[in-house]
Amino acid sequence: MIRPRWQKVFADLIGNKTRSLLVILSIAVGLFAIGILETNHEIITADMLTGYHNTNPANITMQTSGISDDLLDTVRGMDGVDQAEHLRSFSLRAHTGTSQWLQMDLMAIPDYDDFEINTVSLMEGRFPPKRGEVVLEQSKMDDLNVALGDTLEVELPSGRSRELLVVGVVQVQTLGAVSGGGGFFVANPLGYVNPDDLGWLEQPNTNNRLVITVLGDNEDEIYIQTVAQEIRDDLKADGVTVNSAVIRKRSSHPTAVYVDAISQVLFALGALVVLLSSFLITNTLNALLTQQTQQIGILKLVGGRRWQVALIYLVLILVYGLVALAISIPLSARAAYVLLEYLAGQINVELQGYRVVPAAVYLQIAIAVIVPQLAGLVPVLQGTRIRVQQAFSGIREEDSLQQHGWLEQKLARLRGLPRPLLISLRNTFRRKGRLVLTLITLTLGGAIFIATINTRSSVDAYLTQLSHYFLADVNLSLEDPERIARVTKELSAVPGISLVEGWAGATGEIITASGAVADSAQVIGPPVDTQLMTPTLLEGRWLLPEDARAIVVNERFRDSLPGLQIGDSVTLRINGKETDWVVVGFLKMAGRSLDSMAYTSYDQLAHLTGSVRQARLFRIAADQPNRTLEEQSELARQVELAMRDAGYTVTEARAGLMVLDKTDDGLNVMTSFLLILSGLAAVVGSIGLAGTLSINVLERMREIGVMRAVGASNRDVIRMVLVEGLIIGLLSWLLSLVVAVPISKLLSDLISMAIFSTTSIFVYTLNGPLLWLGVVIVLSVISSLAPAISAARLTIREVLAYE
């Protein structure tokens, strides 16, 4: 026969289902959150690496004037080269709907069967494409507005168009690998075509892109740089121009920056949730022990020693933990996967299949076993300290010695408030220990919720800051440099345009002191007095008309030359020519999520590229500010028509917000993910709130009975309990407003450091507090009302005898 003490554990577990459910939920929500966070962290990090490795990503990608088969064989035989392939890479405009055209990248691989670098995964249809066909990369297909089986219309350099049949959809994890950290998000849609179609698509039959994997340490950027430099020198000797060379470690997935940021946030939130869960458990167990005081007295009366009694409750807590664990392990694994599938789609990671993450399970087991025991230890030790006589009489000598504190005296002197409100107020502050514990739990839940919303806003604030670099309503790119004055005159005929600026632009390379290429860089030359960009400077100053060869660079540019300071000289190779520039300012843009960028004055850059008073890039402002993306797109369409009618070859006419919209995609992953996490925090906090307040009422059943016995109506009792719940809820809300400040700062900084390599723009939005206030009010009412109504339903005798 089971010993009575263990029978008690079992009976406690199933005898009071509401209470058990609350305790188990308190533990389970913490475990659930941890399970999700850890599973996400482990799988996304591991699968990103595995999936990316499986594609055999290029360590070096060179854009060249053309690589012959013989030259490719030479490269393959070079020291440090493992594999080398060449292909044709080009851009065309694709028709995406009524009068809408979008720039897309196309690749033609000479021998698809033997191509082993940057491999792709077929998702639908077939691969490789035959003549007249195209296989599209999945994540940007929506932008093209086509599906499998549709035809895609592309515009050729001559202005004629061709139709390609979409026969396959592939996942290309290397998409965006040739640009900065956020390259995936700003990358154009990508398609693969048959190499025999190159002539038909008006493309030269030369392979202009070289992709290489290195032998040796493919995680060492400096080593890869060295190999790249040797190849570059060799190609140069053979008369090949290398326009750009991108270096990438084997593990450097194009969205790794975002995964890093997500991982950091997951880690911080995980720690916070464990802390919240511990308080939740302590609070719940405290209430449980208070309810069980009389039974503790009985156990001690019949010979139970303190450790024996404590052991009974610790075993009960263990059972609660194990039940919570049994719920949380499968549930969190499933929920984590739903979240992962969303996330993987957003950041172009190929999941390696559903699986339970052992680390997540072990972590949940450890937390289920250890945290409730630790959290329960103080209430258990305190609860079992009581003497038999005190347990039976309900009076502790230390309680009877307590003097009324300052707060009680103030509350006692309060006048003019309705009596039930006064009683509720006094009741709230009567048991200060319990109140403090309840408040800590609820405050922490609320603060985490508010902080995640603030963090989201902080990321949004970054976008707003970034938008100051993209003030133009339309960005126009022409095939050839054209005279600025002439283009401006042509555009003056388009209604709704107030300003046209011609910008110089070039792709360059940052050269280190040793002569190696540190990184590719976009060199942009706006007029010094540009009105279509408001830079935010981290250090130094913006360009001045009197500057000679001065540049202002972004964060990634600065990272590529460690130790770079204001006043330092930097060598840039532009159009094959090396020139020295003085750094006069550091810009705050979007950190590592953008390519290396250097701004100089139009005059300087145009002079260098031999296109004085000419430009290929035009920034156009509408006469009315704050145009929407749709309005800008319409204006872009009109600009394009006008320019075509005037005989210009337009490469692209794009809405200004489109650039931001693309960058936004990357950050949107973070913000959506944060929103999901804030939902999770809200669930944890809500269950904490509901559980804590419910137990508070359950604990007061006897008191409710006494009140009813002395004439209080059910309505009085319910109102009193309700008001008390609301007071506690609102107090916790007020406190959470304050506690949310450091947590918001922590989370925002973690994300900001991971993506932007700088501390965050601290934002405290009203949305979080207002949303949480709603949650607090609704939950305070529900969680106080339900037990109060059930207490009101019981007879006075039953309530007084309530255990």
């Binding site: 026969m1 010993r3 009575p4 003490r5 029978q7 008690k8 009976a11 406690d12 005898g15 009389q294 039974q295 007295g297 009985i298 156990l299 001690k300 009366l301 019949v302 010979g303 139970g304 020693r305 303190r306 450790w307 024996q308 003497r387 038999v388 006589q389 039976f392 000598e397 009877s400 010695l401 307590q402 003097q403 255990e803």
Partner: protein, 249 residues
């Protein structure tokens, strides 16, 4: 048996011939502290209880009867004085030692039964054996069944306390008190919540137990029950005022 009063001890009544002293109260004082000042619930009680006695402690509400019983059971602390039970100074023991000793040597019965609500009657009776290290698997169950049978509850052993009457619950409390076969039973107003018929049946059980050699100390405010006890101590305001011999005189 010798009974003494703190200030003015009454004349000692006759004690059972040759019976040894099993409970010895020496100048027992108990004060409760509160912001309003100290309240002396016991003002120096000295008394002895002999083996086999059925001793009543009688007095009005607030006289200190239950406090005195709590001093004997060790469930509350002394302010001063000493309580020896079977030669052992129970207040010299720490809380854990006292609990173990109490579980093995005393059976305590309360007016409010103090049964574990989630345990069956059988498990309630088994509880002292389990908690005080007297568990003997099958034998413990046999003994618990036997005790419940003796108090007339053999048909209800698997019921919860809430499923039986108050009188029956008190019988379970008695069975539980006898679980470890202690020599002494302490009962605090055991008939206080029961009707007269049920109270009588409980008293009969006590009488049988005394006849079987148990020592019982019972607190009651019901003077009519005093006649069924071998001796009575009268308490008023925390002091012994008289024995039954004096009251009769």
């Amino acid at each position: 048996m010798t009974i003494s009063r703190h200030r003015n001890p009454p004349e000692a009544p006759p004690t059972p011939a040759g019976a040894p002293v099993i409970i010895d109260l020496r100048e027992v004082k108990k004060a409760y502290h509160s912001p309003a000042g100290d309240f002396w619930a016991l003002k120096g009680i000295s008394a002895q209880v002999h083996t086999g006695e059925f001793l009543g402690i009688v007095g009005r509400s607030g006289a200190g009867k239950s406090t005195l019983l709590n001093m004997i059971s060790g469930v509350d602390s002394l302010t001063s004085g000493e309580v020896l039970v079977d030669g052992i100074s129970i207040h010299a023991m720490d809380e854990n030692q006292a609990a173990l000793w109490r579980g093995r040597n005393l059976g305590v019965i309360y007016q409010s039964f103090q049964l574990m609500p989630m345990l069956s009657l059988l498990q309630n009776v088994l509880l002292p054996m389990d908690m005080s290290g007297m568990w003997r698997n099958g034998r413990s169950v046999t003994r618990a069944r036997q005790l419940l049978d003796e108090v007339g509850l053999s048909d209800h052993i698997h019921k919860l306390p809430s499923a039986i009457s108050g009188g029956q619950q008190q019988r379970v409390a008695i069975a539980r008190a006898l679980a470890n076969d202690p020599p002494i039973l302490l009962a605090d107003e055991p008939t206080g919540r029961l009707d007269s018929g049920t109270a009588d049946s409980i008293m009969k059980i006590f009488e049988q137990l005394v006849a079987g050699g148990k020592t019982i100390v019972m607190v009651t405010h019901d003077q009519s029950l005093a006649s069924r006890m071998s001796r009575v101590l009268w308490l008023a305001d925390g002091s012994l005022v008289q024995t039954r011999t004096e009251a009769m005189a």
